[in-house]
């Protein structure tokens, strides 16, 4: 309910969001859905199964992180959602509309392609003017919007320069700007922060979070797991065209390990502790961070510390990082694949 009211205000910029959509039992409103989506590329040498039976749901007002190793099918999914390619099997719905290619659906979508390229004989602002017109924007409204998005991606200073002379990161920024030009309800961004410097990354992250807080829905494919962990609400991990896991970050990242902050007398003490499965993660000036994996009992760990003259400073639960989850999930999928092949 609240999410729906959030929606009303900015919707005038584009089209009002589709028909009445039914929230699921948790009160979440699905915006992007795929059902058994399958894509096989028929090449001259072989059939490439890029996507197999993908069931994906992205809800309104969330940042969804779409992860997976190279070639796992992320870009393929995104192109299917935009009607640039067509599914071999299965179906999709965006805002309850199954006609993916329809311009009413696309009016509400902003898209940043992977490794995009823009007409290099145009100036930055002319590129945005061109894309704005494709959304039906014009006149003063368009000019105002161009100023806004240029400001958002920090390109106001370079707006009158030719895109042909832009650096890689500047090109990426202008790409983000064109994706946001119509203030769309849905943003689909294929690797949005590649090529950006650390400051720009931070700025773009802030912009994305702000859009989410306005009630926009964002689907982001990325290899930058730290960033994804910082801003995404839910993630899905794809491997070899199959969705391996999907869910809220808070549910997926198990909190089973424990971190001990300690003062160590010598390196050998740490070495001694490692025999019991306690992992040293970081050590500076005689202070160390020790990780106690779930299979080692905390009592035993503390006992061993005392035994080795290691004094405890703090004990706290440690959340798994997204990177660890990723490695775990993809590793398991690789193993499964090998077993199946043998």
């Amino acid at each position: 309910m609240t999410q729906e009211t959030l929606n009303e205000e900015p919707a005038a910029e584009t089209q009002p969001l589709g028909e009445a959509r039914t929230p699921d039992p948790d009160g979440r409103i699905p915006v992007i859905e795929t059902y058994g989506l399958t894509k096989t590329y028929e090449t001259k040498t072989e059939d490439v199964h890029a996507l197999r039976d993908l069931n994906l749901t992205v809800y309104q007002g969330e940042i969804f992180g779409y992860l997976g190793p190279n070639g796992s099918g992320k870009t393929t999914t995104i192109k299917l959602l935009l009607g640039l390619i067509f599914p071999t099997d299965g179906s999709m719905a965006i805002m309850d509309s199954e006609s993916i290619g329809s311009i009413h659906v696309r009016r509400n979508i902003g898209y940043l392609p992977e490794g995009a390229y823009y007409p290099d004989f145009l100036k930055g602002e002319e590129v945005l003017r061109f894309y704005g017109k494709l959304y039906g924007l014009r006149g003063r409204a368009l000019e105002r919007r161009i100023d806004e998005v240029l400001e958002m991606v920090g390109m106001t200073g370079a707006r009158r320069r030719l895109v042909g002379g832009y650096s890689k990161g500047m090109r990426q920024r202008i790409g983000l700007a064109q994706a946001m030009i119509s203030d769309p309800q849905i943003l689909i961004l294929d690797e949005p922060t590649t090529g950006l410097d650390p400051i720009a990354r931070k700025e773009i992250r802030d912009v994305l979070v702000k859009l989410r807080d306005e009630g926009k829905t964002l689907l982001i494919s990325s290899h930058e797991l730290l960033e994804v962990e910082m801003i995404c609400d839910r993630v899905g991990i794809l491997h070899n065209g199959m969705l391996q896991t999907i869910g809220a970050l808070d549910d997926l990242l198990v909190q089973r390990d424990i971190t001990l902050e300690v003062e160590v007398p010598s390196e050998s003490a740490v070495h001694e502790l490692s025999r019991f499965g306690i992992i040293s993660e970081d050590m500076v000036d005689g202070k160390a961070l020790l990780r106690v994996p779930a299979n080692v009992s905390l009592y035993e760990a503390i006992e061993q510390c005392q035994h080795n003259n290691v004094s405890l400073l703090s004990v706290r639960p440690r959340r798994e990082t997204l990177e660890e989850l990723f490695v775990r999930v993809v590793g398991a999928a690789e193993e499964n694949k090998e077993i199946n092949q043998v």
């Binding site: 910029e13 009607g83 392609p113 145009l122 494709l134 039906g136 105002r144």
Partner: protein, 295 residues
């Protein structure tokens, strides 16, 4: 005044234009952008400069012959100049037509700009139409430049407004339109400009030889040998399908009639309709290919 616009940024005329105007706005934007991009292609500029040089050079040549004192037949001179210029306009014009029509769609697939355009609320039909109109703009501007220089040249030489030349250029455009539409259609299927360029040249050349194809069709098939029959069928098929581009040429009239004569027994309106129909057929084929193309 800014106050007003801040308060009511969503005045309907500003933000939610009607369906028709959204369509034309996008179409216009794509066409203009295609035109601007095409006009800076190096091949195109090269051909245009060459043709202008040839037309200018022909003028220079006659000026030289006339002042050289040699008692040459001036009648013959102008015929020569006209011949050179008409040929230059056809050859360079059709090369520009083919290269531009062949590369607009494959080029955009290659540099992936097409992803950003087709993911906007743009119909594929609208996209293709915009591209096609942009190409026509380029062809028309080129023809106007070449024809314009030729026109001035002739006018200075003969002292009469060469209106017949205008008709020649006008009909030449419709010939180019047909070549352009079919080249464009092949471009919709191809992944690079090579194939459509070859296809375009094929259409232009065979389209100018349809009379001969008709001859071949009539003569073949008499011996009943397989090859003979096959060639007969092929020739008949091509003769019936291919446009007859010779019909668009007023070259002989331009050479032998007075520069301000009206075009003799050329059915201009019929030729225009003929050109438009063939072009429409080519465009529709392109659209059918492009409609479900995987990008």
């Amino acid at each position: 005044m800014t106050d007003e616009s801040v308060k009511k940024p969503q005045s309907t005329s500003d933000k939610l234009p009607g369906v028709v105007s959204v369509f034309t706005l996008g179409l216009g934007a794509i066409a203009v952008y295609t035109w601007r991009e095409g006009m800076r292609k190096k091949t195109m500029i090269g051909f245009l400069v060459l043709s202008l040089l040839v037309i200018f050079g022909a003028w220079f040549l006659t000026a030289f012959l006339q002042t050289g004192g040699a008692q040459v037949d001036t009648e013959l001179d102008t015929k020569l100049v006209k011949d050179i210029c008409v040929t230059a306009i056809s050859i360079f014009g059709v090369l520009i037509t083919i290269f531009i029509s062949a590369s607009v769609v494959p080029g955009e697939v290659e540099n992936r700009i097409i992803y950003t355009v087709l993911s906007k609320p743009v119909r594929r039909f609208q996209y293709l139409m915009g591209k096609f109109l942009g190409v026509q703009l380029i062809i028309i501007i080129n023809l106007a430049l070449m024809g314009g220089l030729f026109f001035v040249n002739l006018y200075i030489q003969e002292g009469i407004l060469p209106t017949l030349l205008l008709w020649t250029i006008f009909l030449t455009y419709f010939e180019f339109l047909i070549v352009s539409a079919f080249t464009f259609a092949i471009g919709c299927a191809a992944s690079s400009a090579v194939l459509p360029v070859i296809g375009g040249l094929f259409i232009y050349i065979t389209g100018n030889l349809t009379e001969y194809l008709g001859d071949v069709a009539r003569r073949a098939g008499q011996t009943e040998a397989f090859l003979d029959v096959a060639i007969g069928w092929l020739a008949t098929g091509l003769y019936n399908v291919l446009p007859n581009l010779q019909n668009f040429s007023l070259r002989n009239q331009l050479l032998y009639l007075q520069p301000n004569d009206p075009p003799a027994d050329a059915m201009i309106p019929q030729m225009v309709v003929y050109g438009l129909l063939y072009a429409a057929a080519g465009y529709v084929i392109g659209y059918i290919i492009f409609r479900r193309k995987e990008l």
